[in-house]
Subunit: 256 residues, 2 copies
Amino acid sequence: MTSNTAGGPTRRERMRAETIAEIKASARKQLQELGPSGISLRAIAREVGVTPAALYRYFDSLDALLIQLCCDFYDELIGDTREAMDASPPEDHLERMKAWVWTFRGWAVGHRREFELMISYPEGNGAMSVDGRRLEQAPEDVDPITLKSLEHSQLCGREFAGFWKQTEREGGGTPGGPPMPEVSEALAKELQDQCGAFIVGEPVPLPWVFTFTSAWIRVFGLVVMETFGSLPVQENVDEYYKTQIMAMLKDFGLEV
Amino acid sequence: MTSNTAGGPTRRERMRAETIAEIKASARKQLQELGPSGISLRAIAREVGVTPAALYRYFDSLDALLIQLCCDFYDELIGDTREAMDASPPEDHLERMKAWVWTFRGWAVGHRREFELMISYPEGNGAMSVDGRRLEQAPEDVDPITLKSLEHSQLCGREFAGFWKQTEREGGGTPGGPPMPEVSEALAKELQDQCGAFIVGEPVPLPWVFTFTSAWIRVFGLVVMETFGSLPVQENVDEYYKTQIMAMLKDFGLEV
DNA sequence: TCATTAGAGTGAACGGCGTTAGCTAAATGA
DNA sequence: TCATTTAGCTAACGCCGTTCACTCTAATGA
């Protein structure tokens, strides 16, 4: 019998979850040792102690497994980042953004192969919006990696929007640093459509959006370059990254 | 007979070169259509009209072929960039740097798949120096892609160093924009070792090196993000890129 | 309790892949 | 002319992802 009157996971479901975890663990191990292209379904089956065909009971294809892996990695990254941010109080947006920036880099560098897989995956490389829509009502037809990466970037984006609101409340209308350059109507609209939805119902002003995207680009550039080994520094990377971030904050007129 | 008294390429050599070109063309076509992982040696052989094994007369392995491809792409990129820079006179370092920045981006975006292959290739992702040595005496033990990418980055680096010399001659000691943040001895030394060799015999001052690397990171970040589709803008990318570059130059205190 | 059923796993096969070894025939150069 | 180099072939090896038909077992419902 072993019926399931309590509504919890059945014995079969538990076994299944366990096997899935085992498969993913083996895949991740291969990823770390051999890189994205070194992952082999047959090798996973061998390690798990099962026939290759058996894996198809759990994943539709190798590709589906890799996508699932990527999503897990994003969850891990998002979890780490969120935790680090929560070490500072909710009002301290600046400190929380710094925590995000630092944790993002730390995770990527500490999990190079995983990060490599995440960004090099054909679909869903971190688009900052999905058809201009917000994340809340996730559309069905969008690949999950894009959604995850959106969620990740919004983690910092919301903090930035909060920072803006706070600054506005205190009387400062525009962000510090160099003035916003002139742009066409079309670009202005697109920028605000793409990034303006971090706060519900209230679009973030253009100069702030531009400031945010500029900062994002620098962080992304730094992290990708470090992961791919093309930074101009090899041994003092930690200090270099920190210096770059600090210089960036100063550029934007933020005391540090 | 068809002997080769003139010392030029023999008939066989010409045929060989032609076949190699044909193979590379087919590989590139597959790269563009299917992406880096879609390139198949057997498919190339099929298209060239030859047995898979025959290709091994021309390349040691598929990997070797891809490396050769990457080098060709770098040559193409470097050629385009150099040509664009030479539209401005040798003394106009600022304009030449702008040409470099713009052409770099244009090539990467116009050849996404090629660029993808170049940066995602395991070894040699654009390290900015090789053991601190200069490019002139290219060491044997370094993979060719690294060398090519070094050559590419030096194209802009030399111009930047020239810009510094010119500024110094005119009396300005430090670069414009925000002041150089304080860094440790070790980081300072590494930065100068890695990037200071653009001008023979004369190390570029630290603030200038820092300025250059900061700019490089922003350009690289922009280009990679655009190539991978993770820019916050999709339709007005040209204008966005230009705006970002202009804003960056302004940050560094350069009139535009 | 017992027949039914859904799920997990197997084994064999298909077609494709990169790569190697040994062969043949043609072009080359003395 | 003749030895040598070279391009190409065939066949095979051991991987790979994926599919299909099959078995066995454990949970299910009357």
